[in-house]
Structures are given as C-alpha cells and as structure tokens.
Symmetry: D3
C-alpha cells in the first residue's frame, strides 16, 4: 500500500497584534516591537493543509480535496477571514496570535474533523518571508 | 536616446476597513460587506514603483534603484507598515482606504520626490488576486 | 479625477488541441506540432481581468471587485472550467483555441457586461512561460 | 558525512478525467464531479523530484542535476507531456489518473533509474492549490 | 482585426559588475557600491519577450511561441547564459551592464529577427525586486 | 507541549564557478560543463532557514523571527551577498561551491548561533528549478 500526502492551499485576511493582556504596553512593545501596535496591523495568511495516508484503492484518493476545501472553508476561513484575531476569535482571547499559535489553533480546529487514519500537518505563511509548520507533535 | 522603465518591488503589512464616516454602519456593510468589519482586517500589500525615462549615458541607470528603495522606505513603508490605515494615516482620515485610493495616496507621496523628467506609475497588490495600478492620469 | 486600473485574477482548467477542421491531420501536425494531439492535452489557465476608469468618489472603487469576481465566475469559469474547449465551447466550434483566440473570446463575453465608461483588458496565462494580452484594439 | 536533498523542478501539460471503467457514468459523476467530464479537462502539472543522499566528496554533488533533468525528460516528460493520460499512457489504462496515482506512477518510472543509495521523493502540483507528495513508503 | 500581445518567458544566469573602465575604482564604488565588486557577482535573470500584432486568421497565432522560444535560445541564451557579461559579451566591452543597458542590448539583438509588423517589448528581472522594461522608444 | 517549525526566507546574489583546483580545466569542464566557466557566472540565491522546537509559552514564539532575520544578515548575507564565492569566501578556498556544499557551509555558520534545543534546517534555491536542503544529519 502506498502512503501519499495530499495538500490543499487556502487564504484568509485578518488583523492582529502581538500582545499579552497581563503585560504592560511597554513590555509588549519591548518584546514584540511594531507588531504590538495597539491599533493592529494585518496579513494575507496563506494556509496549506496536508493529510498523509494510504491511497483508497477504489477512488484513487487519499482524501477528497473538494471535501477538504469545504472543511477549510467552514472551519477556518469562516472563522478567521476578515476578522480581528485578538478581538473576534475566541481561541485568542487569552492566547497571543503569533503565527506559531495560529497554526496550533488551526490544527486543533481541523483535527477533530479528519479521519483517524490520516496524519494532519499545517503550514501557515504570515508573509512570503515568515512562515511556520505544525504537525501535532 | 532609449526610454526604459525601471521597477522596484516593496512590501508593507497594514490593517484597514472600508468605511465612510458619513454613512451608517448598515450602509457601509451593504456596500463594502465583510471588508467594513469595525474591528478591521489586514493585508500584506505588495507595491511596485515604476519610473520611465531616458537612460543616463554616464551611469547606465534611469534612476538608481538603491535610492528608489530608500525613498520607498522613508516615504511609504515608514508611514504605512504595521499601521492601521484608517486610524493612524493622516491621508485616510476622510478618505476610504480602498486599494484605488491607497495607490493614489502613494503616488502623491512619492511624486514630489521624483525628478520631473521621469514618469511615475504605482502598482499595488492588496491580495494576489486583487490589485490596482495608477499613473497619475 | 484619477484614472485607476483594477485587476482581478481567476483560474480555470481546460482541455484543448490546436486544430483546424478544414486542414488535414498532417497539416495540423506540421503547423501545431504536439499541441494538435487528437486526444487533447490541457492547461491551468490563469486569467487577469483589468478595468480602467475613474475612481467613484462615493465608494472609492473603480468597479467593485466582488462584482467582477462573480461576473468572471458566471460568464467565464462556468463556461470554460473543466471543459474541453474544442468540443464543449460554442465559440471554438470553428475557431482554433489558441491563447490569442481564447483571450478575444473572453474579452467579447465580458465586454457586454462592463459599463461603457470602463476600458477592459484581458491577460491570459496558458503556462507560466506563455501568455497573451488583449484590450479590444 | 553530510546527507543533503537535491530537488529538480519540471513541467508537463496533459489532459485527463477522473474515471473508473467499471463504474457507471452516473457513479463516476457522483464521486468525481466535473473532474469526470467525458470530454476531459487538463492541467499544467508541476513536478519536483527530490533525491537524498551523501555529498560525493569528489564532485560536491549528491547527484548531477543535469543528469536528473535529462532523466526526467526521457522518462516522464516524453511520456506524459501533451498527452491524454487516460487514453495514451499505458499505466492509466486500468488506474484512475488522480494526482495521488500519477505521483506513484512517476515514482515507479524514475525509481529504477536512481542509484540504490539515494532516497527518491515526488511532489506533484495538479494546480497551485492542490498537490501531493510520495516517497515510496 | 484584433491586436494581441504574446509573451514568452526565458531565463539565463550570468555574472557581472557595474563598472566604467574610464572611471577609477573609487569612483566606480562611489556610484555603484557593492555592485562594482571587481570579483563580480551574479543573477538569475528572468526575461519576458512580448510581441504585439494582429492575429493571423489562418493559424490563430500572432507569432508561433515555439519559434520565439528557439529565437530567444539562439540569440540570447546562447550568448548570455553562464557567461560573464563584462568579459565575454561583446556588447558590454564599452557599455556598463546595468539592467537598463542589458534590456536595450537584448532588444537590439532580437529586433532584427522579428517581422516588421510586430512591436517588440523586453522585460528583464535582475532580481524579484528590481526589473526593467524597454520597447524601443 | 507543541513543536512547531518557524521559517525565514532571505536572499543573496553571488558569482561562482564549479571548479576543483586539483583538476585540469579539461576535467573540470568534462564534469561541470558550462558551470565551470573560468570567468564565472552567478545566481540570485534564495535561502530558507528553518528552526524546530517548542513554543515558548510566554512569548508564543519558537524563536523571534526578527532576531533570526538579523542573524541571517550578519552571518550569511554580509559574507555572501554580492561576492564571488570562489575568490572571496574563505570556506570555498578548497571546497567546490555547489549548492550542496553552500548549504552545508551556511548550516555550519548559523548552527553555532542557534540555541541547542532547536533543530536547524537549510533550504537553498540556486535557481527556481534547482534547489537543495540540509538538516545536519
């Protein structure tokens, strides 16, 4: 049996600031610099969702990428696109929305909808120069 | 004499919302949809600045791209990068920060620093799928 | 008043062959080479639709890119995506589906839906290395 | 000794449909949607071939990328470029040409020409948004 | 009759330095900075050749892109690829190899092989951030 | 605890030739072809530096990408950008500057500045079609 990874790319645009509520503004600025601007800034996030598993001999698919596209839309894009991550997304009420933390949040949101026999990996581009990847380990 | 166009690419990340102060929230939402989210969203803007003119026979340059890079940094990136366009940028106090209007603002900010014998053009990518261009006409 | 060009990128995947019905297979092969393979080959076409006009002072838009996105979907993607251009698209029944001719067909299909005060331009990538542009002149 | 992976990118354009001969058209359409269009559609496939092994201390190469380029040309591009995968490629006579299955076929075609001390991996982009990877496991 | 522009992308890798023989090293460094390093540096140049003209009603082509690809190979790539522009390319014996001047040299080399009824334009990327365009005006 | 990989992209332009001092010019040409041109050629190298480790619960960072950006600048870009690798970079005095060897040199230069609890990986694009990766194994 052949194990293949299938990947699907998606996009969302969001505002955020790097910020801890329990730190002073001065300390936030010291650690996070202009990324802690209290008026927010934003990004075009690019998301790659990867699933690894055996090819289904009947369909030739590891996982139907149309279903994955819809899952990313309802679970991720509808929650994050055109949103302010700090204010409007529950998971970041007490979690700093760094790219690292956003990738873990996306992983956890998707993971409960992915069949158990598949391994999930998240790659998240904050900019073309800064990106992160997370596979639940 | 040969007329050549030189192009320089730059980047900035900013938050914005599409919004007119003199319209109700309902009307803003009707016209601008989720782009008028009062908590803002954001983009990785990609900017291409183009200058057209004759090649300087001494240097082989139309315009020194190192000087253009520094000009874009001081006049544009320092003003717009990691900013909230609606709140923190003077030009958008009474101007809706659509990609079209941002390109005109950038053109006007740069134009006063560009020698008269050169033609300026601005291309601004709001996302990889939506972009605008403006040449002062 | 400021004239700005707004651009919207879209995609469609299609099969085609370069072929004239009134030529022999041998002559088709001589002129079009492997592109005239009778069993077809295909491309991920990338389409950029550009509209030039004055910024609407009320909205800050030249043309609402959400409306343009929907127009490209109904007029172009629904007609061409996952289709065999030679067999299934009426305009190519007697027209060789070269990138040049496809760009003219797309222009004509869109042009009747675009307000008169805007100039339309089509850019069509057949591959990342071969592309064409057409503005109705 | 240092283990490095070398990667080479290539391209081919092909037509295909997702289709099982032993299923009815209705069943094919139910599972594969518009991708099972009987008149075919097509893609610009992008292929990345990766080889992992120790650097040859004499040449500084893991594997000569010029030789790999030629191998990809004769073994893959000459077989798949400008072809209809379902009709003209032997391996897909009884195998559904999903991206997953194409990546396994490419792996098997290349693997017999790659020295035993090197690990082979295939990455295949069907579109910029849908891609797969396979390393023979 | 419809006027369409066809574009073909090509690549070459070359070494160069920005340098005038009739200037001192100090003056060269003052004007061209690290780009005048006497030991050279280099680039992956990306070249787009664009031809504008009417569609040939018989073939559906403005110009056969296969012929253009071959022309770019023999006239440009064979002369510039893997070369030191300052030392090995005749046109730069007394001409500073700035991107501007390279684009004019490429234009002049191609122009004599292009039919008179077509307009030629050159776009040359020195890096992803610095590029030039020239259309013989 | 969650292990995430953070990636930072950088660029440098350099000249090189593939060449062993202890081989004749004929032997160098036989093995390395036009890449051994004695007058050099060059590339726009693209570098991705990846660090894997646990998210710092205080900052939400695996490693501050601003610090990584500065480290890449002082340790890599300042040493390699606009340089002739064979002549001006100490590490290549007796080492052939293949992409494989450059990636190992970059790894070794960075590794001594990276905290022990993080795993380092280097990806180096010599061109868009040829690239290598190395993780110190």
């Amino acid at each position: 049996m052949s194990k293949v990874t299938v990947h699907r790319k998606a996009h969302f645009n969001a505002a955020h600031r790097l910020f801890r509520k329990d730190w002073s503004d001065a300390r936030n600025y010291e650690v996070f610099g202009k990324c802690s601007n209290p008026n927010y800034h934003g990004h075009n996030y690019e998301l790659i969702v990867s699933l690894t598993g055996e090819i289904n001999q009947e369909t030739g698919f590891v996982f139907d990428l149309g279903i994955l596209r819809d899952l990313i839309k309802t679970e991720i894009e509808d929650c994050l696109d055109h949103k302010n991550l700090n204010i409007e997304v529950e998971e970041f009420q007490n979690l700093n929305p760094t790219a690292e933390n956003i990738s873990v949040v996306i992983y956890n949101k998707l993971q409960k909808h992915i069949p158990n026999h598949l391994d999930l990996k998240i790659t998240l581009y904050e900019t073309q120069r800064n990106f992160v990847s997370y596979s639940g380990e």
